[in-house]
Amino acid sequence: MATIEELYAQYHQPLLRMLYRRTGDQDRAEDIAHETFARAIATPPDNPRPWLFAVALNLVRDDGRRAVRQGRRLQLLKADSVTHAPAADDEYERLNKNRMVRAALDQLRDIDREILLLKAEGFDYDEIAAATGLAKGAIGTTLARARRRLVEEFRTQEKDRHAAS
C-alpha cells in the first residue's frame, strides 16, 4: 500500500485541479484537497485514486465547509486586493473564458459535472463507477449528455456576452 507521501505526490495536483474546476475557488479547492488527504491518513484507502476523488467530491457538497471558506477569504482579501496587477488583454480573455466555462459547468447536473471532471483527469469507466457509484454501463450515456450540455451552455454564455457588449 502506498504511503501518504506517495499518494500526495501522485494525486495532489490532479485532485486540486479537479477541485478547482469543480468549485472555481482555489482556496476552497486547496482546503478540500487538504482535508481529503487528512482523511486518507485516518483511513488509508485500498484503491486510492477513486477513493480520494470520491471523498473530495463529497466534501465539495458538504455545506459545512462553506463557513470555513468564507472565513479564509475574508482573511486573504486584505492582501490580495492590493497585489493583483491589471490583467493584460490576453490574460483577460483567458480569465473570461475560464469564468464562462465554470459558469457552464455550474449549469450541469452534479453527476454529469463530476463524471466529466473525473474523465478529464484520466479516469476510465471502471474508476468513474467506483468513485461515483454509477453503473459502468450508464457512464457513456451520462458523459455524452454532459459534454453536449457543457458545450451548449458555453455557447449560450458566449451569445449572452456578445449581446451585452
Binding site: T3, I4, E5, E6, Y8, A9, Q13, P14, L16, R17, Y20, R21, Q26, A29, E30, A33, H34, E35, A38, I41, A42, V68, G71, R72, Q75, L76, K78, A79, D80, V82, T83, R94, K97, N98, V101, R102, A104, L105, L116, L117, K119, A120, E121, G122, F123, D124, Y125, A138, I139, G140, T141, T142, L143, A144, A146, R147, R148, L150, V151, F154
Partner: protein, 385 residues
C-alpha cells in the same frame, strides 16, 4: 444490429469498448450513414467539451495541460495532443504578497521563543552538508548509548535530531540540496524514550562539570523524559526549562540537548489525532518528519512538522490547539504578543532565524520558523493549508 446510441459512441471514442464490441460498432458504422453522422456530432462535442474543461487551469499551474484524457481513443482523426508541460514544483508557485499586519519584535519574544536559543546553522554548500550529515551519523550512534558524552559540532543545526531519528526509526535527513524526500515512519515502541533518555543522561554528564542549579535542572529533565506517560516530561522538568525563553543567553550544546529532550518524533497519523483530526501542512512541500514538542508552558504541547529548505536547513511548522487546561497560559502569551486572529507576528532570532506566529480562523496557533527572510516566511505561511 440496431443503431448505435450516443452512449455507445462515447464509449467508442473513450476507448472503453471491448475489442468485440468495437469491431461490431465499426462494422455497423461502415454501413449506416445516420450513425456515422451521430458519431461525428458526438466527436465534436467530445473535443469541444474536452478543450473547455482543459481551459480551466489552476491559477498557479496554468501551464499544465492534461490533454490526454480528453483525446478520442484510437480513432483516425485523433486530436494532436499538446505535450503536458508543468512548472517544476510548488515552490515556484509561491504567491508573493504580504499578509496581515506584521509586528517585528525583539529577539526571543513569543510563544515559541523557547525553541530559538540554539545556534543558527550557517548555510553550507552541499559538500559541507554531506560532511555534516556524516558527523551526524557518527554522533547518532554514540548518542544512542546511555553513557555517550560526545559533543556535537558547534555549528551543527540540530545535532540531536539525528539521535532522535535513530532512536525513533525516522529517516529525515535531506539527501541533496533541494530534494525533499518523504520519510515519516512509525516509531518503534518506547524507542523515543530510549533515545530521549540517552540524550538527557548525556546532558547530565556534561552538566555535572558545571554543577549547581544547572546540574539539578538537567537531572529533573531526565526524570521528566522518563515519565511513563509516553515520554511527556513532568511539570518540574518543563519548569526547569522556562528561563530559556529569554533567548539572549549564550547557547550551549547542553542547553540544546536538554531542550530537545522534550521533543519526540511521531507518525503523521498520531499528530493528526493529537490535533483533533486535522493538521496544517505547507502546500507543495513534503514533510521530513513530525514531532510532538512539550514547551515550557505546562499543557501547551504542540505539533511540529519539520521540512527542509533547499539548502538543507530545517523549517518548522508548529501548531497547537488551545486546550481547556491551558487556556490561561495561552491567554497570557497572546496578551503579551498582542496577537489577534488574522495578525502575524514576526520574531527575529539569532543568525537570521525568523519565526512567524499567527492564529488561524479555527483558533489553531501556528508558528513557522526557519532561516529565511520574514517575507519568504510570509510567502510560505500563505501556503499553509
Amino acid at each position: 444490429m440496431p443503431h448505435l446510441d450516443d452512449g455507445q459512441l462515447t464509449a467508442l471514442l473513450d476507448g472503453e469498448l471491448t475489442s468485440a464490441e468495437r469491431a461490431e460498432a465499426e462494422s455497423h458504422l461502415a454501413n449506416c450513414p445516420a450513425c456515422r453522422e451521430l458519431l461525428d456530432e458526438t466527436r465534436r462535442f467530445f473535443r469541444e467539451a474536452g478543450a473547455l474543461v482543459d481551459a480551466v487551469q489552476l491559477p498557479t499551474d496554468s501551464s499544465s495541460r492534461p490533454a490526454g484524457p480528453n483525446t478520442p481513443a484510437g480513432l483516425p482523426d485523433r486530436r494532436t495532443a499538446e505535450p503536458p508541460t508543468r512548472r517544476g514544483g510548488g515552490l515556484t508557485a509561491w504567491r508573493s504578497l504580504g499578509w496581515a499586519a506584521t509586528i517585528v519584535v525583539a529577539v526571543g519574544l513569543g510563544w515559541f521563543a523557547s525553541d530559538l536559543r540554539y545556534r543558527a546553522p550557517v548555510a553550507a554548500p552541499i559538500s559541507d552538508l554531506k560532511s555534516d550529515r556524516a558527523d551526524q551519523a557518527v554522533m547518532t550512534a554514540k548518542s544512542a548509548e546511555p553513557t555517550a558524552t560526545t559533543p556535537a559540532p558547534a555549528t551543527h543545526p540540530v545535532p540531536s535530531d539525528a539521535a532522535r531519528a535513530a532512536g525513533n526509526g525516522a529517516i529525515s535527513r535531506p539527501e541533496e540540496a533541494g530534494t525533499r524526500t518523504p520519510a515519516i515512519q512509525a516509531p518503534a515502541p518506547e524507542a523515543g524514550l530510549v533515545s530521549n533518555n540517552a540524550v538527557a543522561k548525556d546532558e547530565v554528564g556534561k552538566l555535572a562539570e558545571s554543577g549547581g542549579e544547572r546540574r539539578e535542572a538537567a537531572e529533573r529533565a531526565v526524570v521528566g523524559s522518563t515519565d511513563p506517560q509516553a515520554g511527556r516530561p513532568a511539570p518540574a522538568a518543563l519548569a526547569a526549562q522556562a528561563p530559556a525563553a529569554a533567548g539572549a543567553v549564550q547557547t550551549t550544546e547542553a542547553d540544546l540537548r536538554r531542550q530537545r529532550s522534550n521533543v519526540r518524533t511521531v507518525t503523521l497519523e498520531e499528530a493528526v489525532r493529537s490535533l483533533g483530526g486535522t493538521i496544517r501542512l505547507v502546500d507543495g512541500m513534503v514533510p521530513a518528519r513530525v514531532e510532538v514538542v512539550e514547551s515550557a508552558e505546562p499543557g501547551t504541547r504542540r505539533i511540529r512538522v519539520v521540512y527542509f529548505d533547499p539548502p538543507g536547513r530545517e523549517l518548522w511548522l508548529d501548531q497547537a490547539r488551545q486546550l481547556a487546561d491551558s487556556r490561561d497560559a495561552y491567554r497570557a502569551l497572546d496578551d503579551r504578543a498582542g496577537l489577534l486572529v488574522g495578525d502575524t507576528i514576526a520574531i527575529a532570532g539569532p543568525a537570521g532565524r525568523q519565526t512567524l506566529n499567527w492564529i488561524d480562523q479555527t483558533g489553531l496557533r501556528l508558528g513557522l520558523t526557519g532561516f529565511l527572510p520574514a517575507d519568504s516566511l510570509r510567502g510560505l505561511a500563505r501556503r499553509v493549508r
